[in-house]
């Protein structure tokens, strides 16, 4: 297994959360729930797990009219996400290289690597 590969982060629900958070600073809990297409309770559970691992930070809004919760990827979480994405890319790349060396081989892997 690639040393950069993060088993904890590779759980689909957690990886989805981190992927949504990565391009932003703070993301509203409601937006995050809709983006990853999950329920409040399921999201809350995964966010808690990520927060316990130090990958995300949670901030409760100060607004009295509407209580809003924001989630942020910590620098540790951002670093872990980049490393994990790099590990995934390396796995895909390693699978593609032999296929390019032998054009007659099954091309299925090469066809999906363009993303």
């Amino acid at each position: 297994m690639d040393p950069l590969f993060d088993e904890f982060l590779h759980v689909p629900a957690r990886l989805s959360i981190v992927a949504v958070l990565a391009p932003a600073d703070w993301v509203d809990f409601g937006f995050l729930r809709d983006a990853v297409e999950t329920s409040d309770s399921a999201l809350s559970k995964q966010v808690s797990a990520l927060a316990a691992a130090g990958y995300v930070a949670v901030r409760k809004g100060q607004d009295k009219r509407a209580r809003r919760t924001f989630v942020q990827l910590t620098s540790e979480g951002r670093h872990a996400f980049r490393r994990h994405a790099a590990a995934l890319e390396r796995i895909v790349e390693l699978a593609r290289t032999p296929a390019e060396q032998h054009p007659g081989d099954d091309q299925r892997h090469a066809g999906t690597a363009g993303g």
Binding site: V27, D28, A35, I91
Partner: protein, 157 residues
């Protein structure tokens, strides 16, 4: 790990990141924000030719509205992100451009159309209206540039 699973995970990551980037761009210049900002620009500029203290009050009210609506939208945004130096540059260029439009239109209103400095319409009213219309007209271009910056920033990051 299966390479196809790895590719599938990468595709999901890109798809989800695009959702966030789309939300960032969507929140930059929503229509109600543009309309209220344009009204603020018009009121702020048009008030310049009013007698004191109305000129000061009108200018503060207009530009206060322009700045205030920006703060309100930033507060309510579901996806928050620090503006990059390129984005700040776009906002500065937009402001400088509007000031130029106001100055040039005011001069043209006086020399070409003989619009007086006071009364209705005054030079500032005409120039303020031109600045507000220019602002609304230039927003689609600004939005396209911002989208490009956000996407490029994502590729770099």
């Amino acid at each position: 790990m299966d390479p196809q699973n790895a590719q599938s995970s990468l595709d999901d990551i890109r798809r989800l990141q695009d959702k966030t980037r789309d939300a960032i761009v969507r929140q930059m210049f929503p229509l109600p924000y543009v309309v209220v900002s344009a009204l603020g620009i018009f009121a702020g500029f048009a008030a310049i030719d009013l007698p004191r203290p109305w000129s000061i009050a009108g200018t503060l009210l207009g530009f206060g509205l322009y700045a205030g609506i920006g703060i309100v939208y930033a507060h309510w945004a579901s996806v928050r992100r620090k503006a990059t130096s390129e984005e700040v540059g776009i906002y500065v260029a937009l402001t400088v451009g509007l000031l130029l439009v106001f100055a040039v239109t005011r001069i043209v209103a006086f020399f070409v159309f003989g619009v007086p400095a006071h009364g209705l319409p005054s030079q500032a009213t005409v120039a303020g209206a031109a600045s507000a219309v220019t602002y609304v007209a230039i927003i689609p271009l600004a939005r396209r540039i911002m989208k490009r910056i956000v996407v490029q920033d994502g590729r770099r990051g």
